[in-house]
């Protein structure tokens, strides 16, 4: 029996690139686009593509969109779920490789890392590289998971992880929350190298350093004061 693989793409105002991103994935996966109340033409851009289109009525944030996608995939009977960014910065070829790692290593979650290969590392803009190194230490201290990368949105997980992980962080702090839940639920995880393509578009759309501080405060408050 073949695995039911669901690729979850959270999107907010990605109308310019979303079509291209989805088409780059081919036809072998179930694609769930979670439109987080975009105000651009995201909905129209994907109207004729063979995907599941799920739309939030109000903008909730990337964490909430991922959780909506995961709930949907679980209901549909997904065996494997992939988190994939809408802006086209992830490499579709990594999906099969990560699924292979998931199966052969008998692990629950495979986390993408930009810090395992020299060529991936050099592709990261210098300021971002510095911020990620700081975030890695913060993540390690908060979650007890000492990974080589932080806040990498490319992940693959099996059904057991899909059932256990329940994101409450609606906004960007979900990346740390996932790690916390991986640890709390005693899920097996492994890192695998991934290449991120930093286009001008993805850099403009991506997080800024002020966002990193916001995330840190969110994570801290929700860990200790929620």
């Amino acid at each position: 029996m073949t695995d039911q693989i669901y690729v979850i793409i959270p999107a907010f105002n990605e109308g310019k690139v979303i079509r291209q991103t989805i088409r780059s994935l081919g036809n072998q996966y179930h694609i769930v686009l979670v439109d987080d109340a975009s105000t651009d033409d995201t909905a129209n851009a994907v109207r004729d593509l063979p995907i599941y289109y799920v739309r939030h009525d109000i903008n909730l944030g990337q964490g909430a969109a991922l959780q909506t996608g995961m709930d949907f995939a679980l209901q549909q009977g997904a065996d494997i779920v992939v988190h994939f960014d809408a802006d086209g910065q992830h490499n579709p070829a990594d999906i099969d490789r990560f699924i292979e790692v998931l199966k052969t290593q008998k692990t629950d979650v495979v986390l993408g890392s930009r810090f395992m290969r020299q060529e991936d590392l050099l592709a990261i803009p210098r300021l971002r590289r510095f911020l990620l190194r700081v975030a890695r230490v913060v993540n390690g201290l908060l979650t007890g998971l000492w990974l080589s990368d932080a806040h990498n949105g490319f992940r693959v997980m099996n059904r057991q992880a899909l059932r256990s992980i329940q994101l409450k962080e609606n906004r960007m702090a979900h990346a740390t929350e996932i790690l916390m839940q991986v640890r709390r639920n005693r899920l097996h995880y492994i890192e695998s190298p991934t290449h991120i393509i930093y286009t001008e578009y993805s850099q403009v759309k991506g997080q800024r350093w002020q966002g990193a501080i916001d995330i840190l405060i969110d994570v801290f408050i929700n860990k200790y004061f929620r």
Partner: protein
């Protein structure tokens, strides 16, 4: 230390007491089915009226507590109450956020557009 407590009503004391009583009635109406909130507000209003009508009382309590002036005591209490209020309201806001997220999520999944069904916009369910 013996405080000289006397009951006397000036116009401002009467006005403030009346206002506080209005607040008490309003809070009783506002917090329906929330006995604790009602009791808490009534207690605060009664204390307020007591402090307004017997201004020596906060002075006396402040002195006993080592605060100094009665007005300082009232200020500290108000400040602490204000912070507590923010914390309670923020917690409530978070709860509403969670509920809102659940509703939006359920709605989104229910109305999922399945583009695999070639003929137009059919729902998955």
């Amino acid at each position: 230390m013996q405080a000289d407590i006397q009951l006397h009503f000036t116009p401002i004391q009467l006005l403030l007491s009346l206002l506080l009583m209005v607040v008490a009635v309003a809070s009783l109406r506002l917090f329906r089915n929330r006995l604790l909130y009602r009791l808490f507000f009534v207690a605060i209003v009664l204390t307020g009226i007591l402090f307004v009508t017997v201004p020596e009382l906060p002075y006396y309590i402040a002195n006993r507590l080592g605060v100094g002036r009665g007005v300082d005591l009232v200020f500290y209490l108000l400040f602490t109450g204000f912070l507590l209020l923010i914390a309670v309201l923020y917690r409530r806001l978070l709860q509403h956020d969670i509920i809102l997220t659940q509703i939006i999520r359920q709605n989104a999944i229910k109305n999922c557009r399945n583009n695999h069904a070639r003929k137009g916009r059919e729902n998955v369910h």
